[in-house]
Structures are given as structure tokens and as C-alpha cells.
């Protein structure tokens, strides 16, 4: 069963809908009390502000829940803001994040590019990873963000995108991973990526 973290994120329902349409069982997780052994994978969605999101994750106990589940070996996928929250800190509200991956989240500062980075852009695979299965390299995905992930370790960069600078648009390892774009809003290949996460290693 796929657990989806419910902390008031704007794209919660589109993620939920996409996972359901793929045929997976889902459960919304809104606090520690929802901790259940049935949940084999977790998705952390996100649209919005890092500070606001972390405040909710802390106050609901969801931040502890996520850390505990990850240390128990449960795979976790962060989407957009949810991906940024996997890192240690974000400049958006100067907030301490989950720290499940090493690195920070700075703001785009290139004056020549409009902020937010909004629209369809290509993802270049920098490593092979199961998330990319059955998806051509340099496929377009839909991005909406003003901050970006800057992992400390090169090995945590799985895919990159060019927007004035090259930034990490897919990060993580075989257990904790994140995508900066919105797979749930990126047409068929986005849905494929979600399927790749959900089916990896059994449901």
C-alpha cells in the first residue's frame, strides 16, 4: 500500500488520483497515529512554501514519522516541494528540513531567467535509476518552482535540467528519492515514473 503524506499540500489529490489510477492501494497519512505496517512505500507531495510545510510536518509529528519509516527501510519519493524537504535546509523561510539527503535548497538567482521556473523542460539522466525505466532520456516534465535542490553528494544527483544553470531535477538513492517536477502533471511519462516508483521491489 502506498502511503501519501497529507500535510495540506496543494497537489495531494492529483498525486493520489494518479496513484489510484495506476491500480495501487493508497492511504493518506496525516499524523503519527496513521502509522501502519501495511504501508510499503511513501510519497511526500508538495506545492507551496517550505517553511509552512515544515511547520506542519513538525507539529503533526509527520517529520518524525518519515524519519522513522525511512530508517525502517521504507522507500520514499518526494515530489517538487516534497523533494526539497528531503534535504537538510531550505532558503525558503530559512528552515531546517528533514535531512534525509545531504544538501541544501537555494533560490534561483539568475537575473536573466524568469522566476518561478514554470513549464515543460527536459530531464537528462545523469545515472541509471529505476525511476527512469521505460522513459526516454531527455523527456519533458512539468516544473513549477523558485527554489532548487543542491545535493552535497554527486552520487545523489540522478537527473539534471537546464534553466540558466544546470540543477538537480532528480535526486536520491535507491531508497530515498525526489523529483523536482510534477510527474502527476507530466502526461504519460510522468505517470510512468510514478508507476516505476510504486512497483519497484514489490508493492
Amino acid at each position: 500500500m502506498i502511503g501519501i503524506i497529507d500535510y495540506g499540500a496543494g497537489n495531494l489529490h492529483s498525486v493520489l488520483k494518479a496513484i489510484k489510477q495506476l491500480g495501487y492501494e493508497t492511504k493518506l497519512i496525516s499524523g503519527n497515529s496513521d502509522h501502519t505496517d501495511e504501508i510499503t512505500k511513501i510519497i511526500l507531495p508538495g506545492v507551496g512554501n517550505a517553511k509552512v510545510a515544515m511547520d506542519v510536518l513538525y507539529s503533526t509529528g509527520l517529520s518524525d514519522y518519515l524519519k522513522e519509516r525511512v530508517s525502517a527501510g521504507i522507500p520514499l519519493l518526494g515530489i517538487c516541494l516534497g523533494m526539497q524537504l528531503l534535504l537538510e535546509t531550505s532558503e525558503e523561510g530559512n528552515v531546517l528540513c528533514l535531512g534525509l539527503l545531504k544538501g541544501a535548497v537555494p533560490e534561483f538567482t539568475d537575473e536573466s531567467e524568469k522566476i518561478p521556473h514554470m513549464g515543460w523542460n527536459q530531464v537528462k539522466d545523469t545515472q541509471s535509476h529505476f525511476l527512469f525505466e521505460n522513459i526516454p532520456d531527455e523527456t519533458d516534465f512539468y516544473f513549477v518552482h523558485s527554489y532548487f535542490a543542491k545535493p552535497e553528494l554527486q552520487e545523489d544527483i540522478l537527473g539534471a535540467t537546464n534553466y540558466g544553470i544546470h540543477f538537480a531535477s532528480v535526486i536520491g538513492n535507491s531508497q530515498v528519492m525526489g523529483v523536482q517536477f510534477h510527474p502527476e502533471k507530466s502526461g504519460k511519462y510522468g505517470i510512468q515514473l510514478l508507476d516505476n516508483f510504486c512497483k519497484q521491489g514489490g508493492i
Binding site: K17, P116, M118, G119, N121
Partner: protein, 258 residues
């Protein structure tokens, strides 16, 4: 590189998709969700729904069709129309909208943009901006003025100044409609779009006036738009989105082909 976006606009009145000419005389063109799904399959990059009944109808009814769109469409869509409060943002985002647009309410209370951006992030705050040119004695355009309430009320605000202020407050994107061009099919207001694209550091969606495929190329190449809104030319079957994109590609406009 970031692609130029083709964005079908779907006007909604009483839960039906309609088409207006210069904000008046609606004609029913279909179901909002079915139309959205069709355009997605044709290669639309994003959808914009303009709910023209929002201020008169109850919220539940409005959320119902948005939920249906969210069920059937797997690309981003914005809902604009009748939004007044942060609570409206919350409800529309929860119903499945990816972005929420404000127009008149932001003019009346600009802080709304900041309040919404502080909670949900500026990327889902869209400013709807309706512009009318102001002419001098010789009939030359000297500036553009902001109109509200579906183009019925003039505000005295300068379009560029308002756009800059809105971007500073928290708008993440601007849909700029030229009222005098809308539905006329004789091209976008390229001059205004170019001015906004140069003066405002958030994406600009050009709206109002596309009738021919060349108009879209022009608003990207000369107008420097980030996205082009299309309505009548696709609603009435003059062109498909696939045809528009193939044409743009031959003109070296960076579009996403599916």
C-alpha cells in the same frame, strides 16, 4: 531549455464550457472536463479555466466541475474567476486545481496576492490582468490601463506598474488579456506583451486575439511571451494543437511535441 507553452483557455458558465466574444455573448462549446482531456491528448501544455459564474454560484457547484477536470486531466490547470480570499485558494487547490488566478479581487486588495503566496507559494498564484489601450490625440497608444470585473470597470491603474507590483507581492505568473483584441482573431497585442515580458520578471501568458497560426509565432518571437493562450481558433476546429505546434517547430519556436 524551457519550452514555450500552448495553453487552451476554456470559459466556464453554469458548469458548461462556453466561448465569449469580447467578454460577451456566450455560446456553449462542450463539457469542461471532456474538452480539457481532448486538448491534453492533442498536446496542450497546460489548461486555463475561466469560471465566469463563480461570483454568482455556490462554491460546492464550482468545486464539482473542477474535481471532474482533475479526474480526467494529467497536465496542470489553472482556475480563475471569482476568487476573493485565501480560503478560495485553499478550496480550489484542494479540488484539484494546480494554480489559482485572481483578477478583480487583487486590484481591490493587493495583499491577497501576498497572503496566498505566503501559504501556497507564488508558483500557484496567477494574476489575471485585463488591459485596454489608452490613445493620444493622434490615435497612438500611450499606455495600457487595467480593467476589472470581466472588462466592465476601469481602474485607472497602469498595466505595467500593476504587473510589477503584483509580481513583487507574490504573483507567480500573469495572464494578460487585451480586451480590444479578445475574440477579434486579428492577433495578440504583441506590443503590450513585449512590454510586460521585458518589464516583469515572471512568466507572461499572452491572451486575446489569436485567430491565425502566425499570430502565435509572432507573440513568441516578437512579443517574447512565455506562453500563448488559444481559444476560438481551437474551439471552433480551425486548428488542432498538434498543427499549431508543428508549425511553431518549423519556425524554430521551442515547443514540446508529444
Amino acid at each position: 531549455m524551457l519550452r514555450k507553452r500552448i495553453v487552451p483557455a476554456i470559459d466556464v458558465l453554469n458548469d458548461q464550457a462556453v466561448k465569449y466574444v469580447q467578454f460577451r455573448n456566450p455560446t456553449i462549446i462542450g463539457d469542461p472536463a471532456e474538452l480539457g482531456k481532448k486538448y491534453t491528448e492533442d498536446g496542450a501544455d497546460e489548461l486555463i479555466y475561466l469560471d465566469t459564474t463563480a461570483s454568482l454560484k455556490n462554491q460546492d457547484l464550482k468545486l464539482e466541475w473542477i474535481q471532474r477536470v482533475a479526474e480526467q486531466v494529467n497536465i496542470p490547470f489553472s482556475v480563475i474567476g471569482g476568487v476573493r480570499t485565501v480560503e478560495d485558494f485553499k478550496n480550489l487547490l484542494r479540488a484539484g486545481a494546480d494554480k489559482v488566478g485572481v483578477n478583480s479581487a487583487a486590484v481591490m486588495r493587493p495583499e491577497l496576492l501576498k497572503e496566498a503566496a505566503d501559504i501556497y507559494g507564488k508558483q500557484c498564484v496567477v494574476l489575471g490582468l485585463d488591459a485596454m489601450p489608452i490613445y493620444d490625440d493622434k490615435g497612438e497608444i500611450v499606455r495600457w490601463e487595467v480593467y476589472t470585473h470581466s472588462g466592465h470597470e476601469k481602474t485607472g491603474l497602469d498595466v505595467v506598474e500593476w504587473a510589477q507590483q503584483a509580481a513583487d507581492l507574490g504573483a507567480g505568473e500573469i495572464i494578460c488579456t487585451s480586451i480590444h483584441k479578445d475574440g477579434m482573431k486579428n492577433g495578440y497585442d504583441v506590443e503590450l506583451i513585449k512590454l510586460l515580458s521585458e518589464k516583469v520578471n515572471i512568466p507572461i501568458i499572452a491572451s486575446g486575439g489569436a485567430g491565425k497560426i502566425e499570430h502565435i509565432e509572432e507573440v513568441f518571437s516578437k512579443g517574447k511571451a512565455d506562453a500563448a493562450l488559444v481559444a476560438s481558433m481551437i474551439h471552433y476546429g480551425d486548428y488542432t494543437i498538434g498543427e499549431i505546434k508543428s508549425y511553431l517547430q518549423t519556425k524554430n519556436v521551442n515547443v514540446r511535441l508529444i
